[in-house]
């Protein structure tokens, strides 16, 4: 199998995630699509790490995971507080900076 297949899969998953961010309106699903894009990048990093024969790619993927965890915590907190003030998780309703 050609190693480039892993990169194709990563590109495909990234594209699906990006299309999801554009198409969906529910803030939670939007956030899941961002996670999908981050995961696709991680797959590309891991495949590159094996191609080049060093561990730097895996370290970067590891840092991506840590940052994604921090991002999810803050993002979901924002969604919850947004839902409390507007009673909706749709990003179309959040059109003002403050209530």
């Amino acid at each position: 199998m050609n190693p480039v297949n892993y990169l194709y899969l990563a590109a495909l998953l990234f594209t699906i995630g990006a299309a999801g961010v554009l198409i969906r309106k529910n803030a939670i699903v939007l956030f899941m699509c961002v996670e999908l894009m981050l995961n696709a990048c991680n797959l590309a990093f891991v495949a590159f790490s094996r191609m080049h024969g060093n561990l730097d790619g895996q370290i970067i993927a590891f840092f991506t995971m840590v940052v994604a965890a921090a991002e999810v915590v803050v993002g979901l907190a924002i969604i919850v507080s947004l839902f409390r003030t507007r009673h909706s998780a749709s990003v179309d309703d959040a059109s003002l900076m403050k209530l």
């Binding site: 590109a11 594209t15 309106k25 939670i28 024969g53 995971m65 979901l76 998780a89």
Partner: protein, 270 residues
Amino acid sequence: MSALAAAASTTSTGEAVQFWVLGTVAVIGALCTILMKKAVHSALCLAGTMIILAVFYLANGAYFLGVVQVVVYTGAIMMLFLFVVMLVGVTAADSLTETIKGQRWLAALCGLGFGILLIAGIANAKLTHFNGLGRVNSAGHVEGLAELIFTRYIFAFEITGALLITAAVGAMVLTHRERTERAATQRELAERRVREGVQLPPLPAPGVYARHNAVDIAGLLPDGTPSELTVNKTLRARGQIRDVSSEALEDLKALEQKSAERLGREEASK
């Protein structure tokens, strides 16, 4: 270890089969994530895709990352998503109205163009073989990772610690709500109810007695129409009310038809 390292530099037939089978499932899971109507279904599909990605990490020799992917992503992050869906998701079904006309199709088109661009770019690169991780894993895989994290990437690692603490504090600040007024007592609530005069007695019970007693079945008013008030607010918001008011009429109709058929057959046999 040496066998694993050797396997990492070439791709076996088994790995190819695994790639094509699991890769297909991963793409289907990703598509379901963006196409499912309910947020819970999206979350479950995404969790499946992430587990498959963990298997790919393991196949690529990233044993530590594969385990971390399962523990952190599918274990912690997706469960956090499910918690928030539980808090928020009662009315979180997507509205299907488009704010900008034709946005959905334009977005799909943009995604398609972007994907073609990305994949064509990768196809132009000359990547034909894996170098394998045998050399860098000679002292052990996790040891190699640790050596890099604690030497070359030590600064990024420390910054990450600061980031995690900031995120935890940020989440607390964002979701913490100080109670500024005393909670209303039962007596005050009763007085307010009398003042407003909308619904003085307790809400009516759900279920149609003698036929159904499930909580999601609206009680019927004297004229046979279902009363929304009888059903729990959450079920109402989800649109999960079962209406049985037409069932009785349908039963009667079916009975009449059956008896008509039998009578007709009996007449024909005579």
